[in-house]
Subunit: 463 residues, 2 copies
Amino acid sequence: MRTTERERGQSDGARLPGGVPPPRPLTSPAVTTPVVRIGLLGCGTVGAALAALVGEQRDTIAARAGVDLRITRVAVRDLGRVRDVDLDPSVFTTDAAAVVTDPDVDVVVEVMGGVDPARDLVLAALAAGKPVVTANKELLATAGAEVFSAADAAQVDLLFEAAVAGGIPLVRPLRESLRGEPITRVMGIVNGTTNYILTRMAEAGAAYADALAEAQALGYAEADPTADVEGHDAGSKCAILASIAFGAQVTAADVHREGISRITAADIAYAARKGYVVKLLAVAELLPAADGGHDISARVHPAFVPATHPLAAVRESFNAVFVEGEAVGDLMFYGRGAGGGPTASAVLGDLIDAAVNRQHHTHGSIGELRPARLRPLDQLSSPFYICLEVADRPGVLAAVAGVFGRHGVSISSVEQTGRAERADLVFITHSAVEANVRATLAELGDLDVVRDIGSVLRVLDDL
Amino acid sequence: MRTTERERGQSDGARLPGGVPPPRPLTSPAVTTPVVRIGLLGCGTVGAALAALVGEQRDTIAARAGVDLRITRVAVRDLGRVRDVDLDPSVFTTDAAAVVTDPDVDVVVEVMGGVDPARDLVLAALAAGKPVVTANKELLATAGAEVFSAADAAQVDLLFEAAVAGGIPLVRPLRESLRGEPITRVMGIVNGTTNYILTRMAEAGAAYADALAEAQALGYAEADPTADVEGHDAGSKCAILASIAFGAQVTAADVHREGISRITAADIAYAARKGYVVKLLAVAELLPAADGGHDISARVHPAFVPATHPLAAVRESFNAVFVEGEAVGDLMFYGRGAGGGPTASAVLGDLIDAAVNRQHHTHGSIGELRPARLRPLDQLSSPFYICLEVADRPGVLAAVAGVFGRHGVSISSVEQTGRAERADLVFITHSAVEANVRATLAELGDLDVVRDIGSVLRVLDDL
């Protein structure tokens, strides 16, 4: 039989033998604060930070939010691993499936990551009527529509503030504060590793490989940095941002993705000379379509960002998400996108919300996600930065410029940066259609005066 | 007799004569979306922008949030004034007191500003059991504890996102996302007028008077700019930020306040040379006290902000609030702090929340505000920038430096910037206690070699 929260609260050391409750003490109202029992899936960096934070903040949370949070079950892979967590050893188990259906668990917190088995566990928890708080970007970027819809069917909360931009309160403002706001674009620096690398390249003039090695030494980058530097991590977050900003089904597979591993110190130095900073951006955009509806563009790529744009000032491993709305104008949310403390802070905010909602028999919903019509990249337009290594002889610029002209790509500036053994032609174009730029590059690749096509980067031109 | 929302929703053109409801049409679920009737107090820039936004977004809000928002009563001062608002003329009245108690009003939105009569009207609305959304910073900074407590007693929402930093979702993240987070400091640029003036002084080298005139010409500053440039507006917002961040009773009268009207182009140029930007900051800080408790410091003053700090990149009339938490680290919320569209967007987010909560018979609460123990300014410490006009003759620096030394104020750097008819000594101190700096300045003022004490500005030293 399932006890009510009130009964649990009183039974916690306050119930006399024989079941007679003591008189309610006037000096300690916390005794009757309803207990909410948490089943935690995963106890790595985030799980351990959460357990510590819940322990430290329990009284404050009880006073401010009226719920007494207790972590009562913790599913881990390896019971033998030593953990710096102040929890009774008896709460640990390797049977995650038993945690999510345990009648003595009120709210499930999933911080294990990955799609399997997290997906099945989250769905089972929701089916059992339990609110779920998750920090799992892969899960939501892969099976978001499915789990959101399962939460709606079960009429319980599915909260995921920590899944995008770590500790930054972003999902809640998008879901709630901006519910009545026509949002047109969400654009962010959502990967701290790549932002650290790009910051070091810009500020210390470091080469990509050296900045990456430094990030690895500091623990910001993995030994295999692919997920970060090739934009996979940012792609998952981009899919979630597009889904919640536009109420549309966008998965990681829908997101066009380019990484930063080919960016050179010369690209970044050139950007700086022209008043730009190179940033890896996740962009989710709502674009008016010819039929009166809207298409969605979701993409991750490095870009020249004007130095006066607020995103340009986001340094080191910080994240920031820029939100543009028709009424509200430009907003930006800045903070730590990763790390135990910030992520646990975001999970805790959600957890309190889920616990309070559960007490009030209410829950939030992001609503049903509509199928998205994605606009192909080829149809987008922006100015481009294009760096070509060319033969250093007369007539080269005319030949190269002719190719641009034939494809309708108009040149805003060109600069030759010669060195001992090579010459680079560096172009900034006016706004050009991606397909035309692609055709230009294909034809340039066939010219024998073009030795190599270097970086090709979009330029953010909204200022 | 008060009708229920369901009855109202059906009666809205969908009820047949004789009171027999028609079968619920499968294709138009919106017909049964409960109507929430809004009584609007004030119809100036924000009220008109809100009416337009509600009109445009009604269907989207109904689909996403399940409430059909209708502005049914609007209290204005002058019925004769021509308004660009698409509302039936019959909704307007000059009797605001009748609007807040009208049984046909479900939620009250107060965008009239000022303490009187807004305070009585808001209290009357709450006493009548109606949720209130307000954009009124003066009201909350003067009588916040009273109206919060009235809302709790009535068990209805009192929401005020628009009262601080206009369109920026900040109050909700502080109240909800960061409920479990130990916040140590909230520090922001919360006045767009002064930020515009300081930006023009920094970027165009303009004198204060010229930058102010430019802000007035653009409509950013009032003909009498006192409320902005002397920090009164920022002081009200600082009081509200301190109240919600720390759950404490802090009013505008508790906030130490210094404005920007004495800052010179030379101060700003010197700051730039040293790697700083001058910003008017509202700072609400939780400070550990000797007795194990905490004091609160709430103050508004210009400061040297390191150029690499995210607040330094906040330009023109934008606002931003930097939040520091123990677990989450540094956060920043950036956007438009004023203007019809942004403010209306924030009001609408609250309005949807209040309407949805009302349907679910639930409401939020910021909890009871505890009395605050304010730390006197004299006990705070920071580095200082101090500019003195002195006689240009030998021995002056020794005399001046001796005064600093006698008061325990240690000098980090000093520079003499001579001009034709005057010499300035510009100091940056190490971190010093305010009381000691004040005593230093008093003694310096008595030295005959000191002709004038110019700007004295605190230096933000957390980077």
